[in-house]
Each structure stands twice: as structure tokens, then as C-alpha cells.
Amino acid sequence: MKIKQEAIGDVYVLRLSGQLMGGPDADAVRETILSALNQGYKNLLVDLKDVSWVNSTGLGILISSHITVSNNGGFLKLMRVSRRIDSIFMVTRLNTVFQVFDSEPDALASFQGDSASSPKAES
């Protein structure tokens, strides 16, 4: 897995590519998120467009990230989830945990006036 990072206004975007499956991936994601939080970002957006698959260990990475960000008073959202990954979210009911957006503009806009979660976008 690789991570590209980009700040768009007050949203910190992590673009993952490859496969999300634990091991060194966990450290890489955690460090990127901690660094964004340290820089003062509260709005984090994870782009899964180029992630071919996620295993349960990869799901664990997303969940820990979500918890870390929430504990710091921020929001972690996901966007551009493939059909394959979405099916794992459905089966594990993680679709009730993560806010998922189909498009980047929708995802970015959703952070404006965020104070509680809004419903998951249709996929």
C-alpha cells in the first residue's frame, strides 16, 4: 500500500493505493493520521479509489484510525469505495460506522458545518 497526502482547504486527504492489509500498512496509516492531527487538521478524508482490496486486518486499520480521529474531536470519512470493498463493509456492518461518499466534491462539502455525522451516501 502507498499513501499520497494532500490538504484541500481544511480537509486532509489520504489517497491510498494498492492493498490495505495490515503489517507495515498499519504503521504508515497511523503515522500519517497522527501527523495530520498534530498539524491541527480535524477533517480527514481517506480516498480508497485505488485500493484493490482490503482484508479484515485492513478494516482494523480503518477502525483504529476512525477512533483516533474521533478521540481528537475530528472526523474521518471515506470516499470512492469499490464494489468489492463495499461488500465487505456491508457484511461486517461497518457501513454503519463509516461515512462513505461516492464523489470527492460531495465528501469535501460534507465537512462544512459538521458537528455530528450525516447519513452514508448512496453507493
Binding site: Q19, M21, S52, S56, I63, R83, R84, S87, V91, T92
Partner: protein, 158 residues
């Protein structure tokens, strides 16, 4: 459903593909591609192909992480047996085994489980395959057997 891995019948047979990979997560991508190709050859649809690949990856992840504790020189073995529209898969590691009842007692989709970062692998396999069984033998390792049948396209007239 056959319970023992085809190992016991010599692992040969006209319809059995065998694979072994080192215990390294970085090879799971190669495994994914092989499983997708086998499932495509058998005419599973795209969702079923993903379900099968996800499940084999979960079993392989457990073999690498828990069974072999990332000792990369220990091979994880796979058998794919294609009988008509039925795909039987065995995933074997030579690790110490575990107590299945204990680890599957917790529901990863319940309020307690939902935010745990672990404990979803076996659940995903069971949700995505037709049948999943564990053959856990003290000192002989763990063999996960799972199978899935090609679903005929649903008949809109039925």
C-alpha cells in the same frame, strides 16, 4: 462435503490446482489474482469472484499472522478443486491451532464488536462462502475448508 484436504488423496487429481506461498502478507496480492482467475474460469460472477478471493485472503492472513507468526520460510498451502460448478478450497498452515468456539463467540457486528479492530476474518469467510469448516489438529496445524457453488443466473420468470 469432503472434510479432509485432498492431501490425503495425494493432492493430485484432474481438477485440483495446488499453490504454496511463503508466509508473507506481500504475496496475498498474487494469491488474489490466482483465485480470481480460477473463479473466472469456473464462470462465477464478479461478486462471487470477489467473495471467494476475500475469503481465501482472510484464511491466508490468519495462516500467516496467527498460524506461522510471520515466519516466512513456513509455506501456506492451498488446494483448489473444481468439480463442475462447485469450487472446494483448502488452506493449510502448520501452526499450533486455536480454540474455534472461543474465538467465534464474539459477534463482530454487535455493539461491543463493531469498533474492535480484530476478529472479523472467520466471520467474513462464513458470510461470503457457502460452507466453512476448520480442521484443527494439535501439532499438525490448521486446515480451513470452504466451498462455493456457481449460482445459476436467477430466472426472472420464476
Amino acid at each position: 462435503m469432503a472434510k479432509s484436504p485432498p492431501e490425503s488423496s495425494n493432492g493430485s487429481g484432474q481438477n485440483c490446482i495446488k499453490l504454496s506461498i511463503p508466509s508473507r502478507l506481500e504475496y496475498l496480492g498474487v494469491l488474489d489474482q490466482l483465485v480470481q482467475a480460477i473463479a473466472e474460469q469456473m464462470d462465477f460472477d464478479a461478486d462471487a469472484r470477489d467473495a471467494i478471493a476475500n475469503s481465501v485472503i482472510e484464511a491466508a492472513t490468519n495462516a500467516v499472522q496467527h498460524g506461522h507468526q510471520h515466519q516466512s520460510d513456513l509455506p501456506v498451502s492451498f488446494w483448489f478443486e473444481m468439480k463442475g460448478d462447485l469450487l472446494d478450497i483448502w488452506v493449510h498452515d502448520s501452526g499450533p491451532g486455536f480454540d474455534l468456539d472461543e474465538v467465534t463467540a464474539a459477534d463482530p457486528t454487535g455493539p461491543e464488536g463493531l469498533l474492535r479492530s480484530r476478529g472479523r476474518g472467520i466471520f467474513i469467510m462464513r458470510a461470503m462462502m457457502d460452507e466453512v469448516e476448520f480442521d484443527i489438529r494439535q501439532g499438525e496445524g490448521v486446515t480451513v475448508h470452504m466451498c462455493k457453488q456457481v449460482t445459476p443466473p436467477s430466472d426472472p420468470g420464476a
